[in-house]
Symmetry: C2
Subunit: 459 residues, 2 copies
């Protein structure tokens, strides 16, 4: 492990691992909702902030499924971290991959051995997809967690239609026009709805040999209803909306095997084999790898999903200056011990709280306890329909969709001026002319391999 500050030839004072002043140095790992809200909340404090992320942008993940289905471009839902934070003179952004932390020496270690010292550390690296012990399914059934994932899924969806248009064999064509979405949570429901919008709306007049109404969209959920965390009435309403859109919803159903284009579903004792070229995985989320590292180095406990158990102030037991917020944290000090859900508002509020706590600590002031303000949940179900649960009142259908839209626009434009983006999207959404339906990628020369129904997998 080399320490850059003492390395010969290094212009130490200029190297970004060293804070510019002797101020309290807060290192934040991860520029998602938790990390970015923390960084912004520290903007005018007498502390130095270094935000480290592997990517140079914050991603508005709630709309990533729209990139996967050709409604939005990556640039529409991503904001360069440097641009978001450029007015904060006390804040540095560092493009880097944190691979370890060293609580004794109070520093984080980057992939190539460089170290960044901290006084307070906020870890907010979020979650990743989870195949429940079937990691080999990933190639056939990609998840949508990154921009690259979304572009790969977009590529597969539109290649499936192109291949179907050219496919003379009716069975193969049916397999190409079958889309299986695994997981009936908000992401799965939103994806299935967007696929239905595509098949039975946007693409309607695009093809000459196939009828896009032949498309079969199957949404599979292991529990007894879609959107399990929502009230039952809203789950029922979402299922009904999906059915109206043309999505086949199968509850109490599990995927038991994926072999090539044959997917085995199991419901009770009944097995069924579906033939499809496109399986999209929206079933599981687990903590990112940093969870295990933080636990090992600090002696913290993790839950089954790899999330780090945190104290009431998001710190780690016996390490009051190391905090974990967002999807990586297991916060069980409210709701009778049930952990807070892995959603954006929890990450935002956690990030803000920890920022404030550090400010108070530096100023030697006491900090009140954290209290999560649950303003409700919402999920969109295709064009013009959604379900919204504000805890004291519930909405479905178009009014819920309007609420969903306003909330998303509000948060999307917070960091960055994306208002025109959203106007444009609404316009193309309304006119059913979503323009980002591009098949792109490195293997463009292989496009002919879609002939005869063989879709090349890029991963």
């Amino acid at each position: 492990m080399t320490d850059l500050l003492t390395q010969p030839g290094a212009v130490a004072a200029k190297y970004p691992t060293e804070p510019a002043t002797d101020d309290h140095h807060v290192v934040i790992v991860g520029g998602g909702f938790g990390g970015l809200y923390a960084a912004q909340a520290l903007g005018r404090s007498p502390v130095q902030v270094t935000l480290i992320d592997r990517r140079n942008f914050h991603l508005f993940q709630p709309l990533l499924y729209q990139v996967a289905t050709g409604g939005l471009s990556p640039g529409d839902i991503a904001s360069p971290l440097r641009a978001v934070l450029k007015q904060q003179a006390n804040t540095k952004v560092l493009l880097g991959d944190v691979v370890d932390i060293d609580p004794d020496e109070q520093r984080v270690i980057l992939k190539r051995g460089q170290t960044v010292p901290y006084d307070s550390l906020i870890v907010a690296t979020g979650g990743t997809h989870h195949y429940f012990g079937n990691d080999h399914w990933e190639a056939m059934a990609p998840s949508i967690k990154t921009i690259e994932d979304a572009l790969e899924v977009r590529r597969r969806i539109f290649l499936a239609y192109e291949a179907a248009e050219k496919e003379p064999d009716l069975d193969k064509r049916a397999a190409l026009l079958t889309f299986l979405v695994v997981g009936g949570g908000p992401t799965g429901v939103e994806l299935a709805g967007a696929l239905a919008d595509l098949a039975f709306g946007t693409l309607e007049k695009d093809f000459r040999n196939i009828d896009t109404f032949e498309t079969k969209i199957i949404l599979v959920e292991g529990m007894d209803r879609v959107l399990p965390p929502f009230p039952e009435a809203l789950s029922a309403n979402a299922a009904e909306s999906l059915a109206k859109l043309g999505v086949e919803v199968r509850t109490k159903t599990l995927v038991t095997s994926i072999e090539g284009d044959l997917i085995t579903l199991k419901r009770g004792d009944t097995e069924e084999v579906i033939r499809t070229k496109t399986v999209l995985w929206a079933a599981g989320v687990k903590a990112s790898a940093m969870g295990k590292i933080v636990a090992e180095r600090t002696g913290a406990e993790c839950d089954r999903g790899g999330r780090v158990m945190v104290e009431p102030d998001f710190s780690i037991a016996n390490h009051p200056n190391i905090f974990v917020v967002g999807d990586l944290a297991h916060y069980a000090h409210q709701n009778e011990g049930r952990p807070l859900p892995g959603v954006a508002p929890v990450a935002m509020q956690g990030g803000k709280y920890v920022a404030k706590l550090i400010q108070h600590r530096v100023a030697d002031k006491p900090m009140p306890k954290f209290e999560y303000k649950d303003s409700g949940s919402l999920a969109v179900v295709g064009r013009n329909a959604a379900v919204v649960d504000l805890n004291w009142i519930q909405f479905t259908g178009f009014p819920a969709w309007m609420i969903w839209l306003v909330v998303h626009i509000f948060y999307l434009i917070e960091f960055d001026n994306k208002l025109v983006v959203m106007t444009q999207w609404l316009w193309s959404y309304t006119t059913r002319n979503q323009g980002a339906r591009l098949i792109t990628g490195k293997d463009v020369d292989k496009v002919e391999d879609t002939m005869r129904g063989e879709i090349r997998l890029q991963k």
Copy 2:
């Protein structure tokens, strides 16, 4: 070679290579300006049209440099071909790779051996980049012809800044902040100008360790002035605007070697070695591979750049039903034998003319001669400056930039509603907050390799 129409198991009537009626069947290879204008002009004719392209979208290439520099997203300047042509009931779009043509049997051959019969054939596959015998330079000095090229260049530009921000060695940092653009034609000038806008505008406040004003942008041109096809006064004005923007313009200068990050420039007898991590190639265009194939199969001649010599009606000698339009054609029947330039208006007018010729031929009517209407040339030189030559009047500076803008918006929105896109772009352009500055790609885990100044090349 298999013929799908007679292949066992094939549902022949449904296969897209067979036209739906006995109407005259026009096959168009390539969905660029030439091919797409031809397809649209044939929309209401009593003919069947099949447009074949390797990509599922039309690309508005004149703005591709904006994608490479983070100003626009790919979806902003690409329109799905199916969407553009969906109202034309007589037109099929086929995603495919034409590898050969067979003039005797009147059919084109796709990569996997399938054939598509034609009565008239329009070849419009355009041009590709040209390294003048130094194809090994491509990895170090990418061109910008495709969306994938532009995203790779975007990745390199922004990784160079990220690496510079982390680089303690001053020489390495200088190499990271040096950008060399090879070629002083419109593309090179536009790229250099956009890089200057980035370095000395957009990115100004983004970094903490580097001053983006340290950026060195060098534009190299072999001739004695930039924009050689323009009138001399406009070339001089463009050079002046570039200098004002902070671009070093070196005319009469050639690149003689590229070895790693050392690039040798030669001016007269003087050699100079520049150290840079980012070289962008805007120097040469040659005809795509179809040119050679068409020439071989028809006995047509090609020029040195591989362009097919065409008759006054864009047909090939002795093959009146095979046409070549756009950048692939060498049309020398105007301007005292000088070929028409490889620009979008020539492709559009050629495509439209051939479409009309085929319509007249089918209706047994005579067709007047083709005459190219040259409405002038224009090139943008960074923010708020351009040069415009309308033949009867010339503009420079801001008025020229306004004309450039209006012309580009006009053509960009022709196929597709991109007006909101352009509004958004103008907004972020004016506010210097171009949001598409994302580093994306397959190798995101390798982002740490930018540490210590080593940029991983993705290709």
